[in-house]
Amino acid sequence: MSTRHDITLTVNGERVTRLVEARRHLIDFLRLDLGLTGSHAGCEHGVCGACTVRVDGEIVRGCLVLAASLDGAEVTTIEGLSDSGEVADLQDAFVARNAAQCGFCTPGMVMAAADILRHHPDATRAEIREHLSGNYCRCTGYQAIVDAVESTLTARKEGVR
């Protein structure tokens, strides 16, 4: 059926070792093998962004990455990102602005938005919309999400001053 591979990697700061099938995707590895159910499988073909996680500092689609390729990698999921407090202000803004409705896209959306906060602190509204275009939301119509990211960027800039 499928060959198996031994991998050792860091997930949310914890070292884990598992034997995984070659066909095991990262999103299934996280959800099924590690019980990290905060990341979601929405389309399993790399379009919707619900499985967005961070690998070695960059956001990736968990459904397009094979777990077997991640020996030695550093993975951060929504659980780890939340625990670290890195985006507590962004998450508060999501709550205040009602930028999550059903919440299924939200962890991936927060991961993608965290990427804006890290790499594009001066992003305009249009650039926020562009950056989040790989993350589908069927509930909100996006405006509240863009508002939450924009207000967080603004608050961080004001905090720096």
């Binding site: 905060g38 979601h40 929405g42 073909h45 409705q101 059903c102 119509g141 405006q143």
Partner: protein
């Protein structure tokens, strides 16, 4: 509230009364867990001995199942068992989705897995159960099914023709349902009209694309004789009844648990054969079975909707007064009417809703609902409304064009007057109170029409084509049993709430309505906090469990706030009275002289604090010996609510869309969008606005991008998210939302529904905006989705 004091009614701002939560933008209590990835969707539920199901689905639109060879599949490592339709029929009865009040409606018995024929591409035919989903899919790949492909009836237009393939021969033909509503003298009205204009409209077949696919985990416990179903659903109690009936069990032996739901939009309020199959397999195997649709399965097996062709005519006099509408609707619904709501409701809604915002005398509308070999269709967000609104508002704009009249002016002349209520529409819809003119006035405060028209003229000189479109609409909410119950369906129009106070003075509400992201939990918390008199933080909301919540219909047709919210309010008020009875005894005061404010019993007159609820709870629960023997001290109350005077609480609103059409590429750019809606009492403006915005975007999606496209053999071509396009953030406009509040008098709360207004009006506003842009070029589009190809074709460029 209608006769309860609100801050506004006694001249205070909303912030002045600390626990007056009605009308305040309180954040939802369940969002923190959503943003931290700590929600529990059905796929996240872990139980011991779980096995996973995968389905072999028909590769043909119509085919006879000659033989199924399961031998190789059964040998695949990890595979536990294989089930065919015959296996499941031993424990599971078929269902027929008709409603008695839809006269003459017919459909065929549907089994969880078909016994003889597959009737759409994607229909589940064989199930494989294995120790992992991957192994189950390996098993499906090893199945050998011999098919005899049959001629398929795909085109709804020819479904009733003499040469049509009759999908269910026992029914005689492919006609599911037809209804004509007629009022006044249509022929005379059209004969005497100053102008008659007509057009054919098409609304594209599309689907809900809940980001969380349909999910179910069913566990039959032989020792207890109970079936526990974790289900991503909008209607747990309805599904409890369905599973019990189909599996020949007592309702009380079935428990449906519905934790977090990743989007529903009407997709998750229907009975799906693969989900019933999972319950049947769990029943047979005596262990938990899980099925989560993958995206391909979602596209081919979630209900589709809105597959309509509508021919419409409008007659107007020289002053622009609408004399009548004459409309013919046809819709193809797939090979089965979907249980238990049926697939005839959408067409029936078109008949009920066309012309809805307007005052006119002559009306004829026919819907003809037919079978075809495509994925079944059924109710999706704003059922029938986007279709009726597109036809109505498209025709009104055409009439204005023919008269040389401004589209705002023709609406102003024809919208039902705000003082005309109660009002009965030509197809018989009863309106308690609407606010079309107030909504139009509010919209015109928000939309800078003069600036936009000036910009439009300026841009046209530069060869840039922009357009502004309007769409008034009505929306059916708070349905009574007239929607489904009178037709024999066990779909509850009433809903219940139990509110209790625990020893620490905190309050718990258990409700029969459910949460899929709308904010049900949030508004129930606010309503109960308001009704009892405690801070919102002291209220916990429990929904989604048939074993613990009062019986109710769940969340659909915009009933959560209006029905479930009212039940919660009545319970909360009753609990408050009960608490004050006890407090009066403890404090030796008349209960009427006391009040509860922010979790504290106070003197009503002075506001002086007398006793925190936690102290009252301590005495009631732990020192009941100190209270009079005959004192009723049950700090729990249950109330159920159902509307009584009107079959539906209609809402209304108007939208405007401002777009730019690239006439070289046919691409529509959404510049800005506005919506004013009247959902009665607004409980939480933040949540209502976001419901409206999300609804608008779903409407825009169906009008611009979303389309279930079939090939000539009946294969669905749009089965990935790369093929089936949904709106993305970069394409969506900034949306402005305004409100008029006309509370319903059916309830204390006065709330009507708000979740479908955006979807109801957005496609029509967009269509009118595109056509406003194209008008100088002599082009017009009426076929959704308005793809670049269709726009270029309308322009004669391809």
């Amino acid at each position: 509230m209608n006769d309860m004091p609100t801050p506004a009614s006694i001249g205070l701002s909303r912030e002045d009364l600390p626990n007056s939560y009605i009308g305040r933008s309180v954040p939802r209590p369940n969002v923190p867990k959503l943003v931290q990835g700590r929600a529990t969707y059905t796929d996240d539920v872990a139980v011991p001995r779980l096995v996973h199901a995968a389905f072999l689905r028909s590769p043909h639109a119509h085919a006879r199942i000659v033989a199924i060879d399961t031998a190789a599949a059964a040998k695949v490592p990890g595979v536990v068992r294989v089930f065919t339709g015959a296996d499941l029929a031993k424990v599971c009865d078929p269902w027929v989705a008709t409603l008695e009040h839809l006269k003459g409606m017919k459909s065929a018995p549907q089994y969880p897995l078909p016994l003889e024929r597959a009737t759409w591409q994607g229909e589940p035919v064989v199930a494989v159960v294995a120790d992992s989903r991957a192994a189950a899919e390996d098993g499906v790949a090893a199945l050998a099914v011999e098919w005899e492909p049959l001629a398929a009836q795909l085109d709804m237009e020819t479904a009733l023709d003499p040469g049509a393939v009759v999908i269910h021969p026992a029914l005689g033909d492919n006609l599911v349902f037809t209804r004509t509503a007629e009022k006044g003298d249509v022929a005379a009205a059209f004969a005497s009209a100053h102008k008659v204009v007509e057009a054919t409209f098409v609304t594209g077949r599309h689907t809900g694309v809940t980001l969380e696919a349909r999910s179910i985990l069913a566990d039959y416990n032989r020792a207890e004789g109970t079936l526990t179903v974790h289900h991503s659903t909008q209607a747990p109690h309805m599904m409890q009844g369905v599973f019990a009936k189909q599996l020949r069990m007592e309702e009380g032996a079935v428990r449906v648990i519905c934790k977090d739901v990743g989007g529903s939009f009407g997709i998750k309020v229907h009975v799906y054969p693969d989900e019933v199959a999972v319950a049947a397999m769990a029943r047979i195997m005596g262990r938990p079975v899980k099925f989560v649709a993958d995206r391909f399965e979602s596209f081919v097996s979630d209900i589709h909707a809105r597959d309509h062709r509508i021919k419409g005519r409008i007659a107007v006099d020289a002053e622009g007064k609408i004399l009548g509408f004459d409309i013919d609707d046809r819709t193809g619904i797939g090979p089965y009417s979907v249980y238990p709501r049926t697939s005839a409701i959408e067409g029936n809604q078109v008949v009920n809703l066309c012309g809805g915002p307007y005052d006119f005398a002559n009306y004829r509308c026919t819907t003809t609902v037919v079978f075809q070999n495509k994925t079944p269709t059924c109710q999706y967000r704003a059922v029938g409304h986007p279709i009726a609104t597109a036809v109505t508002e498209g025709l009104v704009d055409l009439a204005a064009e023919a008269l040389g009249m401004d589209p705002i002016e023709i609406r102003r002349r024809n919208l039902i007057r705000d003082d005309a209520y109660p009002y009965t529409s030509p197809p018989g819809m009863r309106f308690e109170g609407l606010s079309h003119h107030a909504a139009l006035a509010k919209l015109l405060e928000m939309v800078p029409v003069e600036r936009i028209r000036a910009d439009q003229a300026e841009q046209r000189r530069r060869g840039v084509h922009r357009g502004l479109g309007f769409a008034s609409f009505i929306e059916l909410t708070n349905p009574s049993p007239f929607m489904y119950g009178i037709g024999g369906a066990r779909i509850s129009a009433q809903d219940g709430a139990t509110v209790r106070m625990d020893p620490d003075g905190s309050v718990v509400v258990l409700s029969g309505v459910t949460e899929q992201g709308q904010g049900t939990d949030g508004i129930l918390r606010q309503i109960v906090a308001h009704g009892v008199g405690v801070p919102v933080e002291r209220v916990k909301v429990i929904t989604g469990d048939t074993q613990t919540t009062p019986y109710g219909g769940g969340t659909w047709a915009c009933r959560g706030a209006g029905i479930g919210g009212e039940a919660a309010l009545q319970s909360a008020i009753a609990l408050k009275q009960q608490i004050l009875q006890v407090a009066g005894t403890m404090l030796q005061a008349a209960p009427g002289s006391l009040d509860i404010v922010m979790g504290e019993v106070v003197e009503r007159e002075t506001g002086r604090a007398r006793m925190p609820l936690g102290e009252l709870g301590r005495i009631v629960y732990f020192r009941g010996d100190t209270l009079p023997k005959d004192l009723a001290r049950e700090l729990v109350q249950t109330r159920h609510f159902i509307t009584k005077e009107y079959p539906f609480a209609f809402t209304n609103g108007i939208q405007a869309s401002w777009v730019e059409v690239d006439v070289e590429t046919g691409i529509v750019k959404l510049l800005e969008h506005w919506c004013v809606e009247d959902c009665g009492r607004v409980i939480n403006p933040l949540l209502v606005d976001e419901q409206v915005r999300g609804g608008i975007v779903q409407g825009l999606g169906g009008a611009l991008y979303e389309h279930c496209v079939y090939d000539e053999q009946g294969n669905l071509l749009t089965t990935t998210m790369a093929d089936y396009l949904v709106p993305m953030s970069a394409e969506m406009p900034e949306m402005h939302v305004g409100h008029v509040e006309t509370p319903t008098n059916e309830s204390l709360l006065g709330a009507k529904g708000a979740g479908e207004a955006g979807t109801a009006g957005a496609p029509a506003a967009l269509m009118n905006a595109i056509n406003d842009a194209l008008r100088p070029l002599g082009a017009r589009v009426t076929e959704q989705p308005f793809t670049p190809a269709r726009i270029l074709a309308a322009l004669g460029r391809i």
